[in-house]
């Protein structure tokens, strides 16, 4: 029961009922923003949220996202370095340049 996807809040549609318009890849749907409301609703416009069954359940922390990606990238670089080392080692062993 956990299908959730990131969507951007593009407009507040009904302040009283805490409703906003969200957009996912060009597809729009009205959602409830009660769970992510913390101050004036307008401040949410432009923000990204994790959307589940028509509710914004959590604001996406862009810094944490970048952090995770950075970690993954470092892993990749480390791996490339390791592979390069391994190839160098191999070339060395086979006597090629």
């Amino acid at each position: 029961m956990c299908l959730g996807i990131p969507g951007q809040i593009v407009a507040i549609t009904d302040v009283d009922r805490m409703m906003a318009m969200a957009e996912v890849s060009g597809v729009r749907r009205e959602i409830n923003i009660a769970c992510v409301l913390d101050g004036p609703a307008e401040l949410l416009v432009g923000k990204w949220a994790l959307i589940h069954v028509g509710f914004a359940m959590s604001l996406i922390d862009e810094e944490e996202a970048a952090e995770t990606l950075r970690a993954l990238q470092e892993l990749g670089e480390a791996q490339e370095a390791l592979e390069a080392m391994a190839e160098g080692q191999k070339a060395l062993e086979e006597g090629k340049p």
Binding site: M1, C2, L3, I5, V24, S25, G26, V27, R28, R29, E30, I51, H52, V53
Partner: protein, 345 residues
């Protein structure tokens, strides 16, 4: 356009009287349907002749489909356009030249006559574009609640040239699978247009006739083995049926699949797989690899095939469809079980 003739039809909505077999029915047919078909008049029975029929070895192609879409009009088309394109495409993917259509209308009491006029006009325009004639028809009216506005059933007759023999069982390992454009637009459009999921987007149906495209492909790549339009059940169902008919495996490449961003978005939201979304102007064909380039070039030369790409190929082995995922994994693409339901898990 002819000057508008004086219409005997004064109602704005269809009543049961329009289905009673009397003058009101005649008026509806004459006024709404007969005027836009070619040749004018929707005869109870058409008498047809085409010289291609008498060529030794020529065969007749015959196909039928009922169309039941909700809503009746949607971005990119209406039920009439679907009904013409769908049957033209069924003839075309079988290697036939589409010649004649019949059109049978089941109309719910209360349906707006203006809507019927629009649908009939679409059908006339689409038939002309596809080079096919709507030669015979029928109209029935059912009570309110006994139908969902309008159902259209078209049947098509075409001619298959003497040397032509396309069939799914001809597919051989190594043949290249080609689609003419993006996948899932029609299915996604209808999901959004229906309104009950409260989704909106700018997607439009891909609904289009593929008769001319097929003729060009067959001229450029005469060894084309088989083609199928990926309608209900989507590309996945078309490929599975082909794999089963030919008893070959089919491997496709997720990265190669042409998909619009919005269609992907709709699938993410609803937990759907675009491979199972319906198309109404998208076909998949198998060509021996040495003619794949020619087939692609012929398709890309037409607007209906501008987005043509190779998406995979047939392989020896079990009759199943397998997809290399963009992520580097691989998974079976099975036939759908029932209809695809929006998921939230």
């Amino acid at each position: 356009m002819n000057a508008p003739t004086l219409s005997r039809l004064r109602d704005t909505r269809v009543t049961l009287s329009h289905g009673g077999g009397g003058r009101a029915m005649r008026d509806l047919i004459d006024d709404v349907f007969a005027t836009v078909f070619r040749p004018p008049g929707m005869e109870d029975q058409a008498r047809l002749y085409d010289s291609a029929l008498t060529e030794p070895g020529a065969r007749l192609a015959f196909t039928t489909d009922s169309f039941v879409v909700t809503p009746l009009e949607f971005p990119g088309g209406d039920i009439g356009k679907l009904a013409v394109c769908g049957t033209v495409n069924d003839l075309a993917v079988g290697g036939a030249r589409p010649l004649w259509l019949s059109a049978a209308f089941i109309i719910e009491e209360g349906t707006e006559i203006a809507l019927l006029r629009r649908v009939a006009a679409t059908m006339a325009a689409e038939a002309q574009k596809a080079g096919i004639q709507i030669v015979t028809g029928d109209t029935k009216v059912v009570g309110r609640g006994a139908a969902d506005g309008l159902f259209v059933t078209t049947s098509g007759v075409g001619v298959i040239a003497p040397d032509r023999d396309m069939a799914a069982h001809h597919i051989r390992p190594g043949d290249v699978a080609i689609v003419n454009g993006v996948l899932g637009d029609h299915g996604a459009t209808i999901l959004a247009a229906r309104g009950d999921l409260a989704l909106s987007s700018d997607i439009a149906s891909d609904c289009q006739s593929l008769g001319h495209l097929m003729q060009d492909v067959l001229a450029a790549a005469p060894a084309t083995r088989a083609a199928r339009d990926a309608t209900r059940g989507g590309l996945a169902s078309a490929l599975n049926e082909m794999a089963e008919a030919a008893q070959v495996g089919i491997e496709i490449d997720e990265d190669a699949l042409p998909l619009r961003t919005e269609v992907k978005g709709m699938c993410e939201i609803l937990g759907l797989d675009p491979l199972y979304l319906a198309n109404e102007g998208t076909l998949v064909l198998f060509v021996p690899s040495d003619q794949a380039g020619a087939a692609l070039a012929a398709m890309r030369a037409r607007p209906e095939g501008a987005g043509a790409v190779a998406i995979g190929h047939a392989v020896a082995g079990a009759a199943q469809v397998r997809m290399r995922t963009a992520f580097g994994g691989s998974r079976i693409v099975d036939m759908l079980v029932g209809e695809q339901l929006p998921r939230i898990c």
